[in-house]
């Protein structure tokens, strides 16, 4: 059962699928190896919020390109991708956070991203279930929501890549992958897109799992209209090392409400951490008092692949000749998957890219 391809992609999450899609479209033969189920890793556990971010110029460029690519693709995708063009509404609780709203507005506007500032009353009209005393918010209408496992599956089905599922990879090397059943897949380029598990097979990659909790409710159509994110989010969520929670709720096209979010370091078991879950849900209820009465169907956890500088690792692995990385997307990998695929395919084929690839190159933090 040995075979070879131009590009071998390890991992069939949204990132691996997007890499496969772009490489196949660039004319390369592609094999994807997924140990479990397509889209069944972090891609199934996350929120699927496609969001343009402003925390660094590099993150902005990557997320904006991705958002553009998503809006081109979703038109073709199957209904199961559950695309919902709901926009993001950044919620400011007080005047201090309104200052952040104004800063964000300036940032996005200067770069051509349409945004709209809401005062307290407009915010209440936009989201009637928010508590009434909030200061305002910033609406980014171009952001949206998808269901990543089905998107991953669509990308792979559409591009015609060869997909091997069910047998995990035991080792990765410069020539290919050896699977746990002993079979061998070799390739011209090997891409590690194993998400939060990327470092298991390549221990020198600085990717650590960052745990998150989510809760989904039954269907309440109209309860929520936008993805709502509190503006305390950036302050608290990225504070290195400490566990944090934030009000981050999402309308699904099904009418369900997805309630997030939490970030933990050093938690390596998949189970629910009740204290974190409680804090997260209480925070949500502080912003939306009615949320506590919605019927919750399930709670689960997932792991983000975090890097020291919060930027993904996209490009050749320093010190290796044919091993590449496409991982470390932390809490934005659904958004940035499409641009990641594009950058990988561009670099492999020597094409030019719509954005500068340098900020994401692994060489910035891995020395071969």
């Amino acid at each position: 059962m040995n075979h070879s391809a131009d590009v071998v992609i390890a991992g069939g999450g949204i990132v691996g699928a997007a890499c496969a899609y772009e490489c196949a479209r660039a004319g390369l033969s592609v094999t994807v190896i997924e140990g479990a189920i397509i889209g069944g890793g972090a891609s199934a556990a996350g929120m699927g919020h496609i969001v343009v971010m402003d925390d660094s110029e590099a993150q902005f460029n990557l997320t904006l390109l991705s958002q553009q690519l998503w809006s081109e693709r979703v038109a073709e995708m199957t209904d199961g991708v559950e695309h919902l063009p709901c926009g993001t509404l950044w919620v400011a609780a007080d005047e201090e956070e309104m200052a952040e709203v104004r800063r964000k507005r300036a940032f996005y506007s200067q770069r051509g991203v349409p945004v709209e500032m809401l005062d307290s009353r407009q915010l209440a009209e936009a989201e009637p279930h928010l508590r009434p005393d909030l200061a305002g918010g910033l609406l980014v209408p171009g952001d949206s929501v998808v269901y990543p496992p089905v998107a991953a599956r669509w990308l792979l089905d559409r591009c015609g890549a060869r997909v091997l599922t069910g047998v995990p990879i035991a080792t990765l090397d410069d020539n290919g992958a050896t699977l746990e059943d002993g079979s061998r897949v070799s390739g011209g380029v090997i891409v590690n897109a194993l998400g939060a598990k990327a470092a298991r097979l390549m221990p020198s990659i600085p990717v650590t799992p960052r745990k998150g909790h989510l809760v989904i409710t039954d269907r309440y159509p109209g309860f929520l209209r936008h993805q709502l994110v509190e503006l305390g989010y950036l302050k608290s969520a990225h504070s290195a090392g400490a566990d944090s929670i934030a009000f981050n709720v999402q309308p699904r096209r099904t009418g369900q409400v997805l309630i997030g979010s939490s970030r933990q370091f050093g938690a390596d078991h998949k189970g629910i951490d009740q204290p974190i879950l409680s804090r997260m849900l209480r925070r949500a209820a502080e912003y939306m008092p009615r949320i506590g009465s919605l019927i919750a169907i399930r709670a689960w956890t997932g792991f983000r692949a975090a890097t020291p500088d919060h930027l993904p690792l996209i490009g050749p692995m320093p010190g290796a000749s044919r091993l590449w990385l496409a991982t470390g997307h932390e809490g934005l990998g659904v958004t940035t998957a499409l641009a990641t695929g594009r950058l990988i395919a561009d670099q492999i084929t020597g094409r030019s890219s719509p954005i500068d690839a340098a900020p994401y190159l692994p060489a910035r933090c891995i020395h071969g």
Binding site: D218, R219, Y220, T254, S293, I295
Partner: protein
């Protein structure tokens, strides 16, 4: 003799014995569709014991409550969807 209570389903009064569940009272009153499924099919109780969620109705303003796990109380407002 068992005490009678009245519940209101979509505004319509329905008499039931105290101790009967909302699902039982609604079925006895001839109500066929408790809810509509995600593709629009009418649905009614299947399991009678709280596990299938086909008997979901709005009870006292709260959506998605199981009619088979809720006892009738005088004046209870129920709505189907």
């Amino acid at each position: 003799m068992a005490e009678r209570v009245t519940i209101f389903v979509d505004g319509r009064p329905i008499a039931a014995e105290r101790g009967a569940t909302v699902a039982a009272a609604m079925l006895s009153a001839g109500i066929r569709a408790f809810r509509h499924s995600v593709s629009g099919e009418p649905r009614a109780p299947l399991c009678g014991m709280g596990i299938c969620f086909e008997c979901r109705v709005t009870i006292g303003g709260e959506p998605h409550r199981r009619g088979c796990q809720t006892l009738c109380q005088d004046g209870l407002e129920v709505s189907t969807t």
